[in-house]
């Protein structure tokens, strides 16, 4: 595995889009870990630190600008047809944005792609690690997930013996059994995932929601224009409210 270069080194280099994105992600994570406890605190830190930039901040902002320009160049290449999506049926998110250019402006597409990348990769990575840690601590739970998988393979085999599931490689088994229609049958695994989300939510807080009209709920008065944030981290552990 490649160790991430220190801040600043990256900026000077011409790097591929994938590496550039990961670099900014690493820096974000380092900054969150070094200065704050959560992403929200990190946002506040960024807002407050506008008065006085440290060299690290300046380098990071430059990197952010660089990232945006790399992503923007890529989006322009796709728009002009210079590059094409390599995912089947153009089912990638950029193709979706480009197919509806009345709603999605260039700036918005860049915002959203970086958003999807940052939000989706770190959350799935953390959630999966929580689940793996759970399986290591609770082998019985892992055993149950494996039994469930075996049961579903047996059922598929009975339903359609022509699949010949007994003699398949791991890859073929994955392709034939773990399908979008079948995954809903993995009840216990679904519970493990839900519980992992509750116990260790990969996103601890929601985005800001704007109240559009005055109303009162549970004795709390909300006014038009108020902003509300849901804090999943504490809500999930509060038996009175959850």
């Amino acid at each position: 595995m490649r160790k991430a270069p220190r801040t600043g080194e990256f900026y000077a280099k011409q790097v591929s889009m994938a590496v550039a994105l990961l670099e900014v992600l690493n820096q974000l994570l380092e900054n969150v870990a070094a200065k704050t406890q959560s992403l929200t605190q990190f946002m506040f830190y960024l807002a407050e630190s506008k008065r006085e930039f440290t060299p690290l901040d300046t380098a990071m902002f430059k990197n952010c600008e660089k990232i945006r320009s790399v992503v923007n160049d890529y989006v322009q290449d796709r728009k002009s047809g210079k590059r094409k999506a390599s995912v089947a049926n153009n089912s990638d998110i950029l193709s979706l944005f480009l197919s509806n250019q009345e709603v999605f402006t260039d700036d918005f597409i860049v915002d959203e792609l970086i958003d999807f990348f940052g939000a989706a990769s770190v959350t799935t990575m953390n959630a999966t690690q929580t689940i793996v840690a759970h399986f290591i601590k609770e082998p019985k739970s892992l055993q149950r997930v494996r039994s469930e998988f075996k049961k579903i393979v047996d059922e598929c085999d009975k339903e359609d013996p022509s699949l010949n599931l007994k003699n398949l490689s791991r890859q073929e088994l994955l392709d034939k059994v773990v399908t979008l229609d079948k995954i809903v049958e993995f009840d216990f695994l679904g519970c493990v995932i839900s519980e992992a989300m509750r116990y260790m939510p990969p996103a601890t807080e929601s985005s800001n929601f704007e109240i559009l009209e005055d109303f009162t709920s549970h004795g709390i008065r909300f006014q038009k224009g108020d902003e509300v944030v849901f804090v999943f981290d504490t809500l999930h552990r509060n038996s009175k409210q959850w």
Partner: protein, 93 residues
Amino acid sequence: MLGKSFIATKADQSWKEKRKASGHAFYKDRMGHMMDTLKKTIMISINRWMDEMAKSTDGTYDIDIDSEFMSIFARNIITISFGEDVSDEKFEI
């Protein structure tokens, strides 16, 4: 860096409109392709771990879960969001 993206801005009317249009990303056929991408990415990593395990003298291979999972999910999300296939090992992540 995130500009006016979904997670960095408040949910107002313009957010609602864009959120609705983005909902198409999670229609079933797209989800199916996303799942295929994920399966492909995961299998590349698993096969590499298996190869390393077979090569070692004691039949074990230590992995750093953090960096390995980072590699799997970052590749996966790049493919899903940008439509760029980075499953090739030549992309170091």
